[in-house]
């Protein structure tokens, strides 16, 4: 597959911070935390690149098996669609030349927090682990 997606705005918002991207689906109330690779894919999709272009241009030369790379980026994109965080796009207009990452490719991970009514009851100072809210202390 070669997917071209865009963020499902205005129902979805995203905010980058220190090596992660926070994405919130305002309709479902679900909260997502994306690691650096996942955040990069998100940003390149938002900039107009297809999943194949991201695999080739962004992560090329990161020492990963190209077929495996395509597969990982595609399955991540499919997850974004399943969660209604991104939708199919026909627009090619915003495409920008994506520089290679220059980093080792790590598996894109998106962590989902769905039970947000309970999460909001968590005290962000005293009831969280060392990663901070919304990661609950066990």
């Amino acid at each position: 597959m070669n997917l071209r997606l865009r963020p499902n705005e205005p129902n979805v918002i995203s905010e980058p911070m220190e090596g992660e991207l926070v994405v919130i689906n305002l309709e479902t109330g679900c909260y997502y935390s994306l690691n650096e690779s996942a955040a990069t894919i998100w940003q390149q999709l938002a900039a107009g690149l297809t999943s194949a272009e991201i695999a080739k241009q962004v992560f090329d030369g990161t020492g990963y098996n190209p077929e495996d790379l395509f597969c990982k980026v595609d399955s991540f994109c499919q997850y974004l669609m399943d969660e209604q965080l991104m939708v199919a796009s026909n627009e090619d207009s915003n495409k920008v030349a994506a520089p290679p990452l220059g980093l080792s490719f790590i598996k894109p991970i998106i962590e989902k927090f769905a039970d947000m009514q309970d999460m909001l009851l968590l005290d962000p100072i005293h009831e969280v682990n060392d990663k901070g809210w919304p990661n609950e202390a066990k």
């Binding site: 205005p10 918002i13 905010e15 911070m17 220190e18 926070v22 919130i24 305002l26 109330g29 909260y31 947000m116 999460m119 909001l120 962000p124 100072i125 005293h126 969280v128 060392d130 990663k131 901070g132 809210w133 919304p134 990661n135």
Partner: protein, 364 residues
């Protein structure tokens, strides 16, 4: 303002990264995040964002990041959910102005996570209050206290509504708690500007009145320290300095009889945080005579004095009747208290005073 509060604000607001960093480090040394005061807690998201821009690693980093994420999520959901009621008001052509946090997030804070917002405050023209209440009810918002609906609008300044999600909406017919006399709010309707909140077209106060309201409201004593008003005021000044009309600001100060409060606010912003406020404003403020009632009302609102809630009522009532003699004010007081406390007869006034005094003692 306490030393740690000032350091916290300087860490957020100072333009020099090195000064900001030094203030943060001093603040972190003297602060136990586990026991942080509520007013300072509400500034943590802004502090986190500032420090993450200028510092690789810093004390309390992950917990502060978590607090930022918490308010980013909560504010985003609050704004999304309030969209529906704003659309209802627009469709029904209710003239309204979004006040406080909603207005500041719409126009002054691009990052929706750095300014915690507890509720939505809207000012509605008094002629549209009944219709607005109908619309709120039919949209799933119920008054926090049914009896508050029958309060004389001249006595109170707002009532609180809640929806099924526990969200709060304050419906104002007066903007400032202290200023509830007839015509007190007419200027607010002529000093507005357009903005967008959660994708909905809204009106907010223009920068001059936004700053005035922030200062007037901020210096009131609160259960939580209200130092946030400084960050809000500095954001308004820094973002829209050229659009602030200091002559109108001065007129508002005079007409709202808030010279004493506004002078204190201006002093803090200029002297402690270097706000670009013209000298001429200070000169003109000094020329306005300050009444004893105004001074006493400010002191009782910004402190924790004995019998505070009874004193507040007397001074607010007196401020609105400042041109009347003491005898006339005393004669009119029972009617005012009956209205503001929603009492059925004058016989209930004395028990109400005793109850409020006892309630205050219980808080102390």
């Amino acid at each position: 303002m306490k030393t740690d509060e000032k350091l916290l604000l300087q860490a957020i607001l100072d333009h020099d990264d090195q000064v900001s960093k030094a203030c943060f480090e001093r603040w972190a040394e003297m602060t136990d995040l586990d026991n942080i005061e509520g007013g300072s807690y509400r500034l943590i998201p802004a502090l986190y964002r500032r420090m993450s821009r200028i510092n690789g690693n810093f004390t309390y980093q992950n917990r502060m990041k978590g607090i930022y994420r918490y308010f980013l999520y909560r504010n985003s959901m609050t704004l999304h959910k309030t969209k529906e009621i704003l659309l209802v008001l627009n469709e029904n052509q209710i003239p309204y102005v979004v006040l406080k946090g909603g207005a500041l997030l719409a126009s002054y804070y691009e990052d929706k996570g750095i300014r915690p917002m507890n509720d939505l405050d809207i000012l509605v023209d008094e002629a549209f209050i009944s219709r607005t209440i109908e619309l709120l009810r039919s949209s799933g918002w119920q008054p926090q206290d049914e009896e508050s609906l029958s309060v004389n609008h001249h006595a109170g300044h707002a009532i609180t509504f809640l929806n099924a999600d526990g969200m709060e909406l304050d419906l104002h017919w007066h903007v400032i708690y202290q200023c509830c006399w007839d015509g007190a709010d007419s200027s607010y309707w002529t000093h507005t500007e357009k903005a967008s909140l959660a994708g909905v077209d809204i009106s907010i106060l223009n920068p001059t009145l936004q700053l005035f309201h922030t200062c007037a409201h901020g210096l009131r004593w609160n259960e939580l320290s209200s130092i946030r008003w400084v960050a809000d005021a500095m954001s308004i000044i820094e973002k829209r300095e050229r659009d602030i009309d200091w002559t109108v600001f001065l007129q508002e100060t005079r007409s709202k009889k808030l010279t004493y409060t506004i002078k204190k606010a201006v002093d803090i912003l200029r002297n402690d945080f270097g706000a670009q406020i013209p000298d001429s404003l200070l000169v003109e403020l000094d020329k306005i005579p300050v009444s004893d009632i105004e001074r006493r009302l400010h002191d009782v609102l910004s402190g924790t004095s004995k019998y505070k809630y009874v004193k507040i009522r007397w001074y607010i009532y007196s401020l609105g009747m400042i041109d009347k003699s003491l005898i006339k004010r005393i004669i009119g007081l029972p009617s005012y208290l009956q209205a503001v406390w929603n009492l059925k007869s004058r016989k209930e006034i004395l028990p109400a005073i005793i109850t409020k005094v006892k309630a205050k003692k219980a808080i102390q």
